[in-house]
Symmetry: C2
Subunit: 236 residues, 2 copies
DNA sequence: CCCTATCTTGTGGTATACCATAAGACCATC
DNA sequence: GATGGTCTTATGGTATACCACAAGATAGGG
């Protein structure tokens, strides 16, 4: 009676609302540096730029505020949240706790499917990076962020740590703006790519301790870059 | 020239917007169990109940959604997010990582002012509990939540872990609905109060290891209650 | 130039209107 | 009873209007 092939016709995802579309665009724009930290997000010009009503913009800003990407100043309205080294440092510290737990879980209990998924995500990241040269800036700035996010998503979901993934994904949005601050793609991504390869290798090798060390090394490097970038902003 | 006494007249906090007021009321209502998990949050009746326009309700729902207290079902609109034992377990696990770090930091580097603040928060919690008898349900259901939140806030801020506090505070909102599920105030709060006293004592005694153990014990107990409450919902 | 007063306008907060569509109720047929 | 068709209404998504007030510009006086 029931035809499984018909299940494929089911519309699992409703069409995206304007709100969802705008949220993604605004989020990408902030993360990629199109809007600078501290920059005011004034509703009406945003309406013009995005071609939607203020309602959609306002609701979107509520999300972004809850995500920590936007702050509301009294009598001034929303600004793109600044990022201090202290905030970034704490974010890396929390990531260390949560990501090492997930990576070690994967190394302990990983499956072949997980290994394949991780390697696929890593390959996609390499593509996003553009293997045509170390100094070529990718054409789509958000693509790197999405590709590396995918790697982590695979890892957290395989570990079954989906709440931790929510937390980390959100915190990552806040620090990923650092990418837009560095001039050299090689500086910011090659070491990261190498680290993620090491994480993947440790998981495939079923070595939790190696996975933990690889995650920690990755975060240490990323934190050092962040410190350099953000400490230079301290007025002396 | 400049009169410092006039500084006291400065309005540091602007008047709360309707949106802020409604957000707090809705959040409290969800956490206290006034809205049940899975219950639909239909905009127009909410407008009637709260006496505000749909705009305010919609923006509020965006916050609550981002906080994890509300889920949006396609073609059905927002519902109060259900809470599974698996979600709760992961939340307690993350809290363990973050809270032990904060408590140990406080025990290592606490000041007299911190000790006084913690003890004041603990005293306020006892008052909220109502020391008139173990089985008296407090008159204001949200008061217990706020009082215990204050204790943790003091601890995280003293440790300087303000990002972790954001994370934990948000996650706590999601599991604090469990309070509304228990029939006995003694069951749910006396052990917690005792644990928090132990945490406070360990911090005052500058004993990080004891603080870590006290936090872990507290979370273990809370998780056991959650498991009992939420596992009973599994259809067999 | 500095300070104060006044005016204009930009902006956020909020309410309301409009519309599409999905859900649910009801009825007819097999 | 099950199924399909039709109609109504409830509901969410979105746009627009209105208003208060804060910010900024401008003018005048010392």
């Amino acid at each position: 009676m029931k035809n499984p092939a018909l299940d494929q016709l089911k519309i699992e995802q409703p069409p995206a609302t304007l709100r969802e579309i705008v949220q993604e665009k605004m989020r990408d724009a902030i993360i990629s540096g199109l809007f600078s930290p501290g920059e005011r997000l004034v509703e009406r010009p945003l309406c013009d730029q995005l071609g939607v009503s203020r309602t959609v913009i306002r609701e979107t800003i509520r999300y972004l505020e809850a995500e920590g990407l936007v702050e509301i100043l009294p009598n001034r309205g929303p600004i793109v949240a600044p990022l201090s080294w202290e905030d970034a440092r704490q974010i890396y510290e929390i990531r260390r706790m949560l990501e090492t737990a997930a990576a070690m879980e994967c190394a302990s209990a990983g499956s072949k499917a997980l290994h394949a998924d991780l390697q696929a995500a890593l390959e996609a990241l390499k593509q996003a990076f553009g293997q045509t040269g170390p100094d070529v800036v990718p054409e789509v700035p958000g693509a790197l962020f999405r590709a590396s996010t995918r790697f982590y998503q695979v890892m957290f979901e395989a570990a079954g740590h989906h709440i931790a993934w929510e937390v980390v994904n959100r915190l990552n949005g806040r620090i990923s703006r650092l990418r837009a601050m560095t001039l050299s793609a090689a500086e910011r991504e090659k070491p990261g790519l190498h680290h993620m390869q090491t994480i993947c290798d440790a998981i495939v090798a079923a070595d939790p301790e190696a996975a933990r060390r690889a995650v920690a090394a990755h975060l240490d490097d990323a934190a050092a870059v962040a410190k350099r970038l953000l400490s230079a902003d301290v007025p002396e």
